[in-house]
């Protein structure tokens, strides 16, 4: 399967906490391909796709961060009106439940990439393939 590993890091919702995570990754030479931040009043979850997942996870764990790795889907679609809507329609028609999604910069200015977190990766991946949606592998993203 073309599933991509996403790292989620728990950070307290306090000044400088995100900066500390970024500094740690910088010092380890990790490059971030995609990032989104989900926040509540108390805490934030930093979701990251990195160019070297294993190294990033190891570094974060050694520094006592609460970290989890989740498999997500990454897609690349043309940068034109209605494209994301088409993706969501495909998932909706298959009753795939979408937890969250976020966009990130792809290789080309004619396309845009998304991380998609669903409740059933295999089911969603099959549906997207049948619908002609390009899926990215972890390697594709690392080489961007």
């Amino acid at each position: 399967m073309a599933n991509v590993r996403q790292i989620s890091v728990f950070v307290d919702n306090k000044p400088n906490r995100l900066a500390e995570v970024m500094k740690l990754l910088k010092d380890t030479g990790i490059n971030l391909r995609a990032l989104s931040l989900a926040d509540t009043r108390d805490f934030g979850l930093v979701r990251i796709i990195a160019n070297d997942t294993d190294k990033a996870v190891k570094t974060l764990k050694e520094n006592s961060y609460a970290v989890t790795v989740t498999e997500i889907l990454a897609i690349s679609i043309p940068d034109s009106p209605g494209q994301l809507s088409r993706v969501l329609d495909i998932l909706g028609a298959e009753n795939v439940n979408l937890e969250y999604l976020y966009a990130f910069t792809g290789t080309s200015d004619k396309s845009v990439s998304f991380v998609i977190r669903v409740d059933d990766n295999n089911h969603a991946a099959d549906a997207l393939t049948r619908g002609g949606i390009i899926q990215l592998t972890e390697n594709d993203i690392a080489e961007m």
Binding site: T40, D42, F43, L45, S64, A66, T68, Y100, R117
Partner: protein
């Protein structure tokens, strides 16, 4: 085979023990009445004379002493010997107000260290052991008490004091420490640090731990025993009566034997002062039977617990006290409900969380609020906010079942709550700032 430090006393029959206690009490009351004006005035006010106290059955006639008496009499008001005969001062941490200072003659030091030696022996300690003392040294009684007891037993004593945890572990490994003495919260932190250093209990030689000076739960005991690969024994004491060693745990681990040849215990109703029968929960009161310099009679500890004379499998006949349910000063009254930090700790450990937490109590629009910050374990994170909020709700629900009131639970990052090397700070009560 159970080993005793002082077999005669520790396994004495009830009749012989009562006889010893009666004799000691009569002499002690006379000593206090003659030498301590503060207590003599209290007795005179109540119309009690030393000759009215013929045995421990008459103890209830004597007035109580409380922490506020100790503050009023600071520093010399309760001293019963000339300073020229005193050799040591120890003191409380003074976190709840003015410090309390206690005085010791050489005889008092010997008795105290003897009590600690009983505790170390009950935990399996002999002159073959390396006793690693990580209680604070100084005015705090923890370090000096266990240090002295360890000398008496003949253990090779490592006076580490607290702090610099990695160095503590290095010493443990290099010198083969077998018995660790410290606060339970520091023992938990040493276990955590051991794991962080990539080590396991197999890399150290510890077999037992003697932990006291703060309340801890059965769940915390199990967690410490696992993280350090030891058997963990409770020890109880307070500066006002001498220090650690007033009571100690044996191999049965079902409560602590009180050294009742030195410290006579009573359980009272904290509201009325009435003495309660064995088995009822109330405030623990101690009368010092043997101390010379600072002999407190009927001192109210504010610790709530139960006494039991049930036969113990270790063979000791000394009366047992259950683990205190909490010191009445630790008890928080929130929206009229009594809450002990130990109850919150129990819920956390039962639900797979670490015992690292901080309770914040405040008053907003005349209503008390209870917020519990809980450190999550590194493997408890999810990528979904809803999962994390569900964890917070589940913990809040479990606490509500235990406490009867609704707390707000906030998960915080691992290691974000400050670790303690002595007594842990678990509660911040902001209501006091408003009063």
């Amino acid at each position: 085979m159970e080993k005793y430090w002082n077999q005669e006393i520790e396994t004495m029959s009830r009749e012989e023990m009562k006889k010893l206690q009666d004799e000691r009490l009569v002499a002690q009351v006379k000593h206090v009445y003659e030498n301590v004006k503060y207590y003599r005035d209290l007795m005179d006010e109540k119309g009690v004379k030393p000759e009215d106290i013929k045995s421990t059955d008459d103890l209830h006639k004597l007035p109580f002493l409380t922490k506020s008496d100790l503050r009023d009499a600071y520093p010399y008001g309760l001293l019963a010997k000339p300073l020229s005969e005193c050799v040591r001062i120890q003191s409380t941490s003074g976190t709840t107000g003015k410090r309390v200072v206690a005085f010791y003659t050489q005889h008092d030091i010997d008795l105290w260290e003897d009590c600690c030696a009983r505790a170390i022996t009950a935990a399996g300690g002999t002159n073959e052991d390396v006793c690693h003392v990580s209680y604070g040294y100084g005015l705090f009684t923890g370090g000096p008490g266990l240090n002295g007891g360890s000398h008496k037993v003949g253990c090779l004593t490592l006076p580490m004091s607290s702090g610099n945890t990695e160095r503590q572990i290095t010493f443990m490994r290099d010198l083969g420490s077998t018995i660790l003495c410290c606060t339970p919260s520091y023992a938990a932190y040493i276990g955590e640090t051991l794991n962080d250093m990539g080590l396991t209990p197999d890399d150290i030689s510890l077999k037992a731990g003697i932990f006291g000076a703060e309340p801890w739960t059965e769940e915390m005991r199990q967690s410490i025993e696992k993280s350090l690969g030891i058997k963990a024994y409770d020890i109880y004491g307070l500066t006002e009566t001498s220090g650690p060693g007033v009571a100690f745990e044996c191999s049965e681990q079902t409560g602590m034997h009180i050294n009742e040849d030195n410290f006579y215990p009573e359980i009272i109703n904290p509201d009325t002062g009435e003495v309660l029968p064995e088995g009822e929960v109330g405030e623990l009161v101690f009368t010092s039977l043997t101390k010379e310099a600072f002999p407190l009679l009927r001192y109210r500890t504010r610790d709530l617990c139960v006494l039991s004379r049930k036969k113990c499998s270790c063979g000791r006949t000394l009366i047992k006290m259950a683990k205190p349910m909490g010191r009445s000063d630790d008890m928080l009254i929130i929206r009229g409900v009594n809450v002990f930090p130990s109850q919150i700790e129990t819920v956390l450990i039962e639900n797979g969380y670490s015992p690292n937490y901080l309770i914040e109590v405040d008053r907003v629009n005349n209503t008390d609020t209870l917020d519990v910050n809980v450190e999550m374990n590194p493997d408890q994170v999810s990528d979904k906010v809803s999962d994390m909020q569900q964890k917070e709700r589940a913990l809040a629900e479990a606490m509500k079942t235990m406490l009867g009131i609704n707390p707000k639970v906030h998960l915080v990052a691992p290691k974000s709550i400050t670790r303690s090397e002595g007594k842990a700070v678990r509660v911040i009560d902001k209501r006091k700032l408003h009063d």
